[in-house]
Structures are given as structure tokens and as C-alpha cells.
């Protein structure tokens, strides 16, 4: 029934409306007719009938309101009317829509970047049960040894699956040319811990983790498509990796997202560690270079699991002896997988999210202000509508419809902006941003945009709507009445003050980040990065790692070949490349002989760098005392070591460190090294890092040679032009060794600040938008005020006030708003500065330079925004204004 009526009222709305009009008019006329018949004169009869009936339009409006579908009908009316109003003032509409589109677009883009990283659960079944388990070294996460893993695996009662993993980059032959693959070497529980099974074939089994067992591999869907033509029969066949035959046992499903190593395309089972070596701590099995991922049992809680492994750490058992560096005496760090992979970027992302919300807030304030200004211009129209029977709620509904329309148009445009912004965010994003492939304008982002658009439409419309419906209709009807402008002006000024305050908070934050980055760039890394090319050479695991084995022979041959390449000034290998974001597996405990073997700095580690003698020449690391390493520092000669100058100063003060002895690593059989020289400090792990202690020695004098070494090449000119020749020179020594991570030292330097730069660029962009919006706000309010005060200004001028006074009067008015906003903004900035403290470097959150700079900038921009209205005011012609009144 309701639907039928509503449908009829809608489809025949013209007819229905005409009928109602005729019916009500007829009623009034009949009433007048009665009165005429009773002897009243015609004119008076009509007037009385009209008054007694309460007005034709009002009756019609009241009747319409009870009809079915009335809400839809008025909504439609409001939309059409609203569209007309927006089209009538294209300038206002364009500014408001653009402002909202910027705000909504930026927010949607940032949301769609942050959502998959911080908020969406990881794409695994029960992702909250997946944990990462780390050892603790200097209070931070550290990788663990193979036997720590074995002990946890055997002794825990809380996990369904617990697995180790490490990077693995095998060379695959069999195609047109050998291909270096990105992969992972994992123990059998890896995919079980993630909760994903191969789509074809089988998962790794415990039996696959046999030392030197039959090699098996699982392929990613992408690799299977790309290299094996999606041929299912590959499962069970053999492929050649690093010269060994691996049997393919499975293919991972298409959508499998491996958040622990997004680039991995192939997995092999863990077969390189020998459980029988547990008593011999001088082996790779006892190196801290494995990560652990585990899945909680369904009935185990996080707290139980943590208590479980802490108990294991505290109670060693004879079956699992532990050397000092794997003693687990500090226990473990346990964290959910999601928290673990996002921990590096979370503070920055939260800061960016906060900043972009401030931008949206400013955009909303600005549009509210525009709507208020327009509301003031439309007072006559509202009064007219009220007189024609529109109730207060009807007016509010109309205005909210208009602001919602505005927001929806802004939102639609905002989605387009967001599409561009998202691409920008991805392009800018630092390398350590997890789940970057999941970033995009998906359904969540769309609903987010729709949600904020609706909210904004209501928010920005509410104050102006209440204002408009509140105002004195009598006054509104009087053309040109200016008596009621007071409250409008007050609200608008308050809004501008809020805008300035918010903009200041953003600008101060951006300023602090900018200063941090400049501080960081002024840090001396300790080497000269220009014209240096680096690449990592990864030798296969089968090579003999003793100082005289074939691995050492290969590196020796390779460096000789590289040094012969034309354009190469000097070249060297190092086991640890500064600022390359390598895992900190180069850190060992250092012990000075003079301290009777107590660890350096009480348990402080030193970076152990195996370097070929030309390393210092290639990196231009200065020699402070003694001599550099040289070609004669071979296995048979006395063991020589170089240490960095701040370590030398701390340990020996003014005494001569040369000739003192140091042991690197806690193994009793490892040799004492004699300090032969002191070199400059090098920032090894990051520019912001404070850990500088380093010991350099030659590979020949080490107790083992690292599987991967980084090549550093100083060229006479542009180093990256030599890339392919250098690679060929290395492959000339052995074609089967992998070369990865080719980069100039300059780009590695830039990459270490990538996350800060990412945050900074976004903050700068937001800060500029905020400043522009605040300037528009100040300009708008002052223009309105000047227009309303034209008469007053005219009188002042007529009474002899100099034009300069008028100018300063208006500018003062604007600057007062700025000043109040700035004062409020400064206290907000204190809070914001504390919130982003973790992103700062070398300055305090209360950095005076930043505050001063931002306030000066704000002052300049707001003087600019005041100037035009003020100038216009000073040009007022008193004769014209006074005559017009």
C-alpha cells in the first residue's frame, strides 16, 4: 500500500501537486464565497478566508509532509535544487570540491597503503597465531643458531609448527642461460607455520631435513608459470640448482603471499646443517644467522607460549649444550608475525596517517567556512523559503543535502586523486615497506572513501545549516540588512584560527623531519661513497670455507681479475658492507688481552670485517696510526688486525694500542690478533647508528671465510658503467657463483634514509597543502569582513583617516587571527613533536630553529593572504560607499 502510494505520488508528482493546489485553493475560495454570501465585501472576505485557513502554501506543505514517499520526493527536490545552486556559483563549487577532493584523495591513498600493512590480517589462516621468535643481543632482536632451533623444536609444548628460514639464491641451469633465483632455505615446518600448503604435490616432510639428504625443492606459482610453462608433470622431476639435482616436490598456490621474503620463488629443505656437530662449536651450525617462525597450537595462548620458551631458555639440559654466544641467558623476543614485519615502519606510517587526517580536518574547516560565507549571502533566500512554509528542519535538510552533494562530488574526484597518490606513495616507498604488492585502491579503500565522504558532507554542512536556519528571518527578508553578521563572523574567525593552528602543527612536524634529514646527511659515514660500485658475490655452500679452501682461492682470483678491468682504480672484498642493511651477523664479542679476556665494553660486540688489503684505499677510510693490512698478512704470518679510532681511544686512551692483542669471538681455539693499525670510524649499520667498533682482518688470517663477500670497486670515473665488465671478471674466476645486489655506494647511502625521506616528502606535501588552505581561509574571512565593513571604512576615510591606516587595520585583524592560531598550534606541535620523536635524528622535538622557521613562514604567508583584502579596503571610495547606503 505504502509503496503503491509512494510510487503514484512520485510518478504523477506534477499531477498530484496540481490537484493539491487546486483543492486547497478551492477550499479557501469556497470559504470566501460563504462570507460574501453572508454580506462581507469581496476583498475582505478573501483576506479573512486566507488568514483563517492559515495560508495556501503552508497547508499544501503540511499535507505533502504526511504523504507516502514524501521523504524521497523532498530529497529529489533538494538534490535538484542543490545541484542548481552549486552550478549557479561555479567558483565556490570548484574551490570547495577541489579542497574536499584533495583531502579525501590523500586520506584514501594513505589509508589504502596503511590498511594492508597495519590493519588487515595477514593472508593466512588464523594469522594471529603465527609468531616470530628471536634471540636477544644488546636488547634487540638477533637471529639464532641451528642448535637453538633444534632445542626449541624438541622441547616446546606450545607450537604446532616451528621452522627456521634463511635466504637462498641458487643458480638454475637448463634454460637459455643460467638464472639466479631468489629463494629460501627452510626447515620442514615453514609452510605449516604459515598455514599454507602446496597446490600441487606435497609439502616438506621431517625426513627432507636430513643432513646432505636428497635435495628437494618447492616452486612458487610464478616461477612454475614462467620457467616450466605451467606443466604439472614437473612435480617429481629433477632440476639443476647450483650444480646439484633437486627433485621438485610441490608448487605453491597462485595467491600465496610470502611476507617473510616477498621475492622468494623457490624453497629448498634444510639439509646443510649437521646435527652431529653439536659438540663442536666451531661450525656454521653455531652461527647466529637463522630466523624462526612458528604457529601456536589452537589451545595455547601467546602468554603461555612465551612462558614456555622462556622456561626452555632458563633451564639448559645436557642434550643441548650452549656456547656463550648462544647461551639464551637473555631469553627470547616473541612477537606476532604482523607486529614483527611492521615494527620498522609502524611509527612512520602512524605519523603519516595522523598528518593526512590533519589535512582532511583543515580541508573540512575550510569548506565549512566557505559554506558559512555562502550562507550569509543566501540569508534572503532562506527567509523567503521559510515564509513560504518551509520549517526549520526542512531548511536544515536542504542545506545538508547540498553539502552532501558537494562532498560526494569531491569524493568522486578524490578517488581519482587517490589513484594517482597511491602510485606516488608506492614509488616513494622505502624498501622495507612490507606487503607493498597488497597496496591498492581495493574495496576497503572504496568504503573508507565513501564513509569519510558521507561524514564530511554532514560535518561541513551542520554548522552552516544550523546558522542559516537560526538567523532572524525578518531581518533576512530586509534587503541589505547587515545587523546579524556578528555571530557568523565569530564562527568563521574561530574556524580560521583552528585552521592556522592545525597547519602549524603539520608544518612544525615537517620542519622537524626536514632538519633531522639534513642532520643525518651531515653525518660523516667514514668513507667516500662517490664513484664506488658494490656487489655481493655469493659462493655456493659446497665450497670449502677454510682459509686455504677453494672459496678463498676463488675470491683471490676474482679480485685479481677485477683489478685488471680498465677504469678500476682499486677493488677489494669485504665480509661486511657498511649501510647495506645486511643482517648484523658480522657482530662478534671482542676480548682484549689486557682485560684478561673480558668482553669489550662489557659484552659489547665488534663488527668482524674480513677485508682484502685494498679495502681502505677503495673506500678511502683514513689510516690514523700504524699500518694498513697488506698482502703479506697471510695464514702463516703473525695475525694482524686493524681497529677503529673510537674503539682504540676508549680502550687505550692516550696509550699506544699498537702491539696489543685482541680476540674476536669467544672460541678458545680462535687466534689472538695483534693490533697493527688504527683507522677512522665507519658507520657500519646506519648513519644514525652509534655502534662503530670494528675489527678488520684478512680472509687468510680468519678461522673461516664467509660464504658471501661484498665487492667494492673504486672507479676512475662513473663506476656503474663498469658493471658488466666487473661481473664478467668475477665469472671468469668461476662462472657458477652468484652476483647479487649490484648498487653504487651512493645509492646505498640514499637507501638508508629512504624511510625518513618517504615520511618527510609526505609531511612536506601535507604541510604545503595545509598552509595553502589556511591562507585561503584567512583571505576568505578578511574579504568577507572588508565587504561588510565597506561603509565603516568609507566613513573613516571621509573623516580623514589615511589609507595606510585602513591597510594596517585590516592586516592587523588578519594577523591577530594568525597569532591566536599560532599560539594554539604551538602547544599542539609540542604533542606532535613528541609523537614523531622516534623519527627524529640529531635534534630535540622542541628544536628552536624549526619553530622559528615555521613561524616566520606562517607570518609571511598570512601577511600575503591579508594583503589583497586590505589593499582593496584601502581603495574604497568614500563617496561611492556613502552614496550607496
Amino acid at each position: 500500500m505504502w509503496l503503491k502510494n509512494a510510487l503514484r505520488n512520485w510518478t504523477k508528482r506534477r499531477e498530484v501537486s496540481a490537484e493539491l493546489d487546486e483543492e486547497v485553493r478551492g477550499y479557501v475560495e469556497m470559504m470566501a464565497h460563504e462570507k460574501i454570501r453572508a454580506g462581507v465585501d469581496a476583498h475582505r472576505a478573501r483576506r479573512e478566508a486566507n488568514m483563517e485557513s492559515g495560508g495556501v502554501e503552508q497547508v499544501k506543505e503540511q499535507t505533502r509532509e504526511v504523504r507516502a514517499g514524501h521523504f524521497l520526493e523532498t530529497l529529489w527536490q533538494d538534490i535538484r535544487y542543490g545541484t542548481r545552486m552549486l552550478r549557479k556559483s561555479p567558483g565556490f563549487t570548484a574551490v570547495a570540491v577541489l579542497t574536499l577532493a584533495l583531502g579525501i584523495g590523500a586520506n584514501t591513498a594513505i589509508f589504502s597503503a596503511v590498511d594492508p600493512i597495519l590493519f588487515e590480517p595477514l593472508p593466512y589462516p588464523h594469522p594471529e597465531r603465527i609468531m616470530m621468535i628471536w634471540g636477544i643481543f644488546q636488547g634487540a632482536r638477533s637471529q639464532v643458531t641451528f642448535f637453538n632451533y633444534r632445542e626449541l623444536l624438541k622441547r616446546n609444548h606450545s607450537f604446532d609448527a616451528l621452522a627456521i628460514f634463511e635466504p637462498w639464491q641458487p643458480t638454475m641451469i637448463g634454460g637459455a642461460e643460467p638464472e639466479r633465483l631468489e629463494g629460501q632455505n627452510v626447515s620442514y615446518g615453514y609452510f605449516r607455520a604459515l598455514g599454507v600448503e602446496p597446490a600441487v604435490g606435497r609439502d616438506f616432510q621431517p625426513a627432507d631435513d636430513t643432513y646432505q639428504g636428497a635435495p628437494v625443492a618447492i616452486l612458487s606459482y610464478g616461477l612454475w608459470q614462467r620457467r616450466f610453462g605451467a606443466d604439472r608433470s614437473i612435480v617429481g622431476r629433477q632440476i639443476t640448482l647450483d650444480g646439484s639435482a633437486y627433485t621438485v616436490i610441490g608448487i605453491m598456490p597462485r595467491g600465496f603471499e610470502n611476507v617473510l621474503d616477498p621475492t622468494a620463488e623457490i624453497w629448498s629443505s634444510e639439509q646443510q646443517y649437521n646435527p652431529a656437530t653439536i659438540k663442536d662449536t666451531n661450525t656454521g651450525e653455531w652461527g647466529n644467522h637463522l630466523s624462526i617462525v612458528a604457529r601456536l597450537r589452537p589451545n595455547a595462548t601467546f602468554a603461555q607460549a612465551k612462558a614456555d620458551i622462556e622456561t626452555i631458555a632458563r633451564t639448559p639440559v645436557p642434550d643441548f649444550p650452549r656456547p656463550r654466544w648462544a647461551s639464551l641467558r637473555l631469553g627470547f623476543i616473541v612477537d606476532s608475525l604482523q607486529a614483527d614485519i611492521t615494527r620498522g615502519v609502524k611509527p612512520a606510517l602512524i605519523a603519516v596517517l595522523g598528518a593526512v587526517m590533519l589535512v582532511l580536518l583543515i580541508a573540512c574547516v575550510n569548506v565549512t567556512n566557505l559554506l558559512l560565507a555562502r550562507g550569509a549571502q543566501r540569508r534572503g533566500e532562506f527567509a523567503m523559503r521559510a515564509a513560504l512554509g518551509a520549517g526549520r528542519s526542512r531548511l536544515i535538510q536542504q542545506l545538508l543535502t547540498e553539502s552532501l552533494l558537494l562532498a560526494l562530488v569531491g569524493g568522486a574526484l578524490g578517488l581519482l586523486f587517490a589513484q594517482m597518490f597511491v602510485r606516488g606513495v608506492i614509488a616513494l616507498s622505502p624498501a622495507n615497506l612490507p606487503r607493498i604488492n597488497a597496496i591498492g585502491l581495493d574495496r576497503n579503500a572504496f568504503f573508507f572513501a565513501l564513509g569519510i565522504t558521507t561524514l564530511i558532507g554532514l560535518l561541513v554542512g551542520l554548522v552552516p545549516a544550523l546558522h542559516a536556519s537560526h538567523s532572524d528571518l525578518q531581518a533576512g527578508l530586509k534587503e541589505g540588512s547587515r545587523q546579524t553578521a556578528g555571530t557568523h563572523q565569530f564562527t568563521r574567525r574561530a574556524l580560521v584560527v583552528a585552521e592556522v593552528a592545525l597547519a602549524l602543527v603539520l608544518l612544525v612536524s615537517a620542519g622537524l623531519l626536514l632538519r633531522s634529514l639534513t642532520q643525518l646527511f651531515s653525518v660523516n659515514p667514514g668513507f667516500d661513497a662517490s664513484n664506488v660500485l658494490t656487489m655481493q658475490v655469493q659462493t655456493s655452500a659446497q665450497m670449502n670455507s677454510s682459509p686455504t679452501g677453494n672459496r678463498e682461492q676463488f675470491f683471490k682470483q676474482a679480485i685479481e681479475n677485477v683489478q685488471r678491468v680498465p677504469g678500476v682504480e682499486s677493488a677489494a672484498f669485504t665480509s661486511f658492507l657498511p649501510l647495506a642493511d645486511d643482517p648484523l651477523m658480522g657482530l662478534y664479542g671482542g676480548f682484549f688481552e689486557k682485560d684478561n679476556g673480558a668482553p669489550v665494553g662489557g659484552g659489547y660486540g665488534v663488527f668482524r670485517c674480513l677485508v682484502t688489503p685494498d679495502y681502505f684505499k677503495a673506500m678511502r677510510i683514513p689510516l690514523r696510526r700504524g699500518r694498513l693490512l697488506q698482502a703479506t698478512d697471510v695464514a702463516t704470518s703473525p695475525h694482524a688486525v686493524l681497529i677503529n679510532e673510537s674503539l682504540a681511544r676508549r680502550e687505550f686512551g692516550n696509550q699506544n694500542p699498537l702491539g696489543q692483542r685482541i680476540k674476536i669471538g669467544g672460541h678458545p681455539n680462535w687466534p689472538w690478533y695483534t693490533i697493527v693499525g688504527v683507522v677512522g670510524d665507519v658507520r657500519q649499520d646506519s648513519l644514525a647508528g652509534t655502534h662503530l667498533d670494528t675489527a678488520y682482518m684478512t680472509p687468510e688470517q680468519s678461522w673461516f671465510v664467509d660464504q658471501a663477500m661484498s665487492l667494492v670497486v673504486r672507479a676512475h670515473g662513473n663506476s656503474s658503467a663498469l658493471t658488466s665488465e666487473i661481473k664478467n671478471a668475477i665469472w671468469a674466476a668461476d662462472k657458477n657463483q652468484a652476483i647479487v645486489r649490484t648498487a653504487t655506494m651512493d645509492s646505498l647511502l640514499a637507501a638508508t634514509v629512504a624511510q625518513r625521506r618517504f615520511t618527510l616528502i609526505l609531511f612536506e606535501a601535507f604541510g604545503i597543502v595545509a598552509l595553502a588552505l589556511a591562507a585561503i581561509g584567512i583571505y576568505g574571512v578578511l574579504s568577507g569582513s572588508v565587504a561588510e565593513r565597506t561603509r565603516e571604512i568609507g566613513i573613516r576615510l571621509a573623516l580623514g583617516a589615511p589609507r595606510a591606516n585602513i591597510l594596517s587595520l585590516i592586516v592587523r585583524q588578519g594577523m591577530l587571527l594568525t597569532a591566536v592560531g599560532a599560539i594554539i598550534g604551538i602547544s599542539g606541535s609540542f604533542a606532535a613533536g613528541r609523537a614523531i620523536a622516534s623519527q627524529l635524528f640529531g635534534i630535540t622535538p622542541l628544536d628552536a630553529t624549526t619553530y622559528a622557521g615555521v613561524i616566520v613562514l606562517l607570518a609571511i604567508v598570512s601577511v600575503g593572504a591579508c594583503w589583497l583584502p586590505a589593499w582593496r579596503a584601502s581603495r574604497v571610495d568614500p563617496c561611492v560607499t556613502l552614496r550607496a547606503e
Binding site: M1, W2, N5, E19, L20, E22, E23, V24, G26, Y27, V28, E29, M30, M31, H33, E34, E52, S53, G54, Q58, V59, K60, Q62, T63, E65, V66, R67, A68
Partner: protein, 109 residues
């Protein structure tokens, strides 16, 4: 309190309209005058309440409207009761006599 009163009045108005149409079809002003007459001037129904009520009752299916000619030779909209309207009048009448009896007793007690 205020709410209950409006509800009561609305109910009253509905019933009075139904009652005045029981004798035959009538236009808006006719209904007003009729209510005035049968309540001896106690209720003066203004068009601002009459027309919303008429249109609501029409949509509820109690009344049926058609265009006809008025006494002063104008087109006027005439309302008449439908079957549902008659049933409604019966129910309303019963309800009202129950209520007024109850109130009368209450006041006498």
C-alpha cells in the same frame, strides 16, 4: 504528556471525519462545516490539519476521492467512505464509547 494529547486529538479528528462522511460524499470545506455542526462548534478544524488527515486516510484506503462540482460552480474534491473506512468507523465508534464511558465513570466515582 504532550505526545499523548496529540495522539488523542488525531484519533478524534480521524473519527470525526469518518463520522461526517457516513451520510454521503463531501468536499473539504463541507467536512469542516459538518464537524463544526455535529460537535456544536466544539471542534473547529483548520485546513492545516484537515488536509493532511484527509490525504493520509486516503492513502490508508479508508477514503476515496473524486473530482466533482461545488455549490459555487468550482471543481472540488469529494471524499467518500470506502468499505474499509466504514469498518474503521465502526471500530472507532466502539472504542470511543468505551473510553468515554470509562472516563465518565471515573469522574463520577
Amino acid at each position: 504528556m504532550g505526545n499523548e494529547q496529540t495522539e488523542l486529538l488525531q484519533g478524534t479528528l480521524d473519527m470525526l471525519i469518518l463520522k461526517s462522511l457516513a451520510l454521503g460524499e463531501m468536499h473539504g470545506l463541507g467536512i469542516s462545516r459538518r464537524i463544526e455542526q455535529i460537535t456544536r462548534g466544539t471542534f473547529l478544524v483548520k485546513p492545516g490539519s484537515l488536509f493532511p488527515a484527509l490525504h493520509r486516510m486516503e492513502e490508508q484506503g479508508w477514503l476515496k476521492a473524486s473530482w466533482g462540482e461545488s455549490e459555487n460552480k468550482r471543481r472540488a474534491r469529494y471524499y467518500q467512505l470506502t468499505k474499509a473506512g466504514r469498518r474503521r468507523l465502526g471500530a472507532e465508534t466502539q472504542r470511543w464509547s468505551r473510553i468515554s464511558l470509562a472516563i465518565e465513570r471515573a469522574l463520577e466515582a
